[in-house]
Each structure stands twice: as C-alpha cells, then as structure tokens.
Symmetry: C2
Subunit: 223 residues, 2 copies
Amino acid sequence: MTDKIDIKEKVLSENDRMAESLRQRFAGKTLCLNLVSSPGSGKTSLLEKTIPALEKELKMALVAGDVQTENDANRLIAAGGKAVRPIVTKGACHLDARMVETALDGLPVENADVLFIENVGNLVCPSSYDLGEDAKVVIISVTEGDDKPLKYPGMFRRSSLMIINKIDLLAHCEFDMAKVRQNALQINGNLDIFETSCRTGQGLDHWYNWLRQKSASKKKGQS
Amino acid sequence: MTDKIDIKEKVLSENDRMAESLRQRFAGKTLCLNLVSSPGSGKTSLLEKTIPALEKELKMALVAGDVQTENDANRLIAAGGKAVRPIVTKGACHLDARMVETALDGLPVENADVLFIENVGNLVCPSSYDLGEDAKVVIISVTEGDDKPLKYPGMFRRSSLMIINKIDLLAHCEFDMAKVRQNALQINGNLDIFETSCRTGQGLDHWYNWLRQKSASKKKGQS
C-alpha cells in the first residue's frame, strides 16, 4: 500500500505542476471553470443554455471530457459553441491537467473570456485533480437526493459554487432543499448556491450573473 | 506512467486473489451481488424495498459502501435488514475485495442466501474491482439520460443485469427507453434489463423473480 500511495503522490505532484502552468497561462484574462457532477446531473445541459445566452458578451472556449464518446462535445457545437474540444479518457475516471493542456492545442483559448472544462461524470475522483481552474462548479440534481454533500464531501469542500439543477422535478422527488443547503454549507461554509432548471430556464440568470462577475474580477486580477 | 500502470496491475492482481477467496467461500450457497450505479440512482432504495418483500423467502446479508457517512447502512437497518455492515471508504472511489472481507467479519454470511454489496456511487472505478460477486447489477435512473451505457461502457459490459429505475419520472424527462436498451445491448448483448420505480413499486416483481431464480441456481451450483 505504501508503494501505491507514493506513486499516487508523485502523479498528483506532476499534475499540480502542470495545473500551475495552465493557471499562469490564463492569469489576468481567461476565467477557467472545472464543472463536476455525477453522470447525468446536467453539466452539458447547463453549457448548452449558457453558450447562446452569453455568446454576445463573453468569448467561450469549451473542453468536454468523457470516458467514451464525443457526444457532449458534439452537443456543445450544436448549441453554437465555436471553440470546443472533446477529451475521451478511454476508461480514466477523471481529467488531469495534461489531458487539458493537450486538448487546448490549437484552441483559441488565449482570446477566450471563459474556459469551461466539463469533467467526467464522477463525484469522487475528479475532486483530487487540479486542472488550473479558478473554481470548481459542482452540479447536483434534485433526483439524486439531499444527502450527497455529506456522502461525497471532498468534491463539495473543493468547489466554489453548487448548482442544484432539475428543480422542475422537485414536486416529484423526496428532496429537501433546506436540508441540501444545510448539508453543503456544513461541508463548505463558503459555497455559493443557485437553484436552476436547464429544462425550463428557471434560475439560470443567477448563474449568468455569477459568470459575468467572475469574468470581470479575473480581468482585474482579483481571482 | 509505467510505474503507475505496474502498481495498478499489482493492486488489481492482489484484489483478484482476495475476490477469488470470497468466491470460494460463497460457492454453492450464497448468491453475491455487487450493486453499482451513479450517486443517487436508487441502490439503497432498491434494497429498502427488497428486504421486507423477500425476508420470509431469502436470508439476506448486506454491505453498504460509501465515501463518507453510514447513512445507507442505517437506512437498510431501518428497512428491516438484520445482517448489515457499513463500509466507509474515507475518500476511496470504489470498494475492493479486502474491504468487503473485513466488513463480513462477524456477519452471519455463511447462512445467507443472498449477499448484497452496495458499492460507492460511481459509474467508472468500481467496474475494475472484482468483489467475488456472481454478478454486477447496474442501476441507472431515467433522469440521467439514455446515453449512459455508451459513455460508461466498462460498467455495462461487466454487468449481468441493468435496472432502469425511477420510471415514475419518465413523463418529465427526455429519456428514450428504446434507445437506452439499444445502447446497453450494443455494449453487452447478454444484459438482462428491467424497468422499475422504487417509489411506486412498479416493475419490482421482475427483480424479485430474478433474485429467486439466481439464488436457486446458485444452490444447484449453476452460477
């Protein structure tokens, strides 16, 4: 087990160096967000809404990771995404900084106001890999249950914003909104929290305003 | 990267030996099922229904894995589970055979007809770890999207049964039942498939009959 831990630390440390180099590259201009969630919580749906809503205000670059298929990247292109790259991890359970750097090759990311990195759908492993992001955005859907922040604390501890998605299904689920907020804030008292439905559009304005504000702060060197 | 792969192979090979020893222990008597899914798809809910429905027919032992909290094990005890053990992985993204063996200590598993192992909610990593089970049962919910078998093929390839849960929400989701079946069978042509709602009870009889039949086959040495 010692060997396993040593190797894991070595890999993480290499990842941290690469992530730091990405962070330097984006300094003062490109807001970099790492979107994480369970499979099917709505990462791609959120971006499909965001692209047309903000395309006149913000230049967006997008990287979409999946274990297999380029489906998500294709959905983002169909939604109007102009600078989109897929990453197929071929079995790996998370993106790492090297995969992101490779995917950025040829992408006009230096001109982008925001780089969205859509991670593999997994509430555990992606929490350990810094991708050079300014913030992790964790998305949960109301169909998953209000206990998720307590059961997967690492991800919620390392995120800056929690988006509670699929609120159009609230009436059909046993999901206590007050409880999920309390559970999340117990893990991370600094978490911003928005409620959205990518299906109906409800609540998305909070997210768009958050993006505008974070992008502006990034350019002022405040994030 | 070579070091990383070597270590991973060593860990998996140790796991395989331990899993084989568990398999010998259960031979000819205890049907062992490894329940896998995304977070919040309904593994615990399925077991909460199964315990009271079959407690007069089948002796059940249950092991519930989570990254953090013993919530699931407590729910199984509240549902009437008499032989229940939690495994808190403290950050690890999957159960391994050693964790299961440790959790079984003191559990009357030798008398059990069925051992349910509820894995960590994760559609990627648990697919690589044999726990000595007769079958993996993968649960997806209709809120997750019909593309999941294509995007997480490893898990669906290694499972024997796919349960499509939360069908009470079908009218409120864009989920194509014919497509998810086609996608799953494209990955694994031998997959049994049932549709259920743990909330309304719809379709659970198929699952109960499958359990009865697999348990009977196990005792005849046919699985």
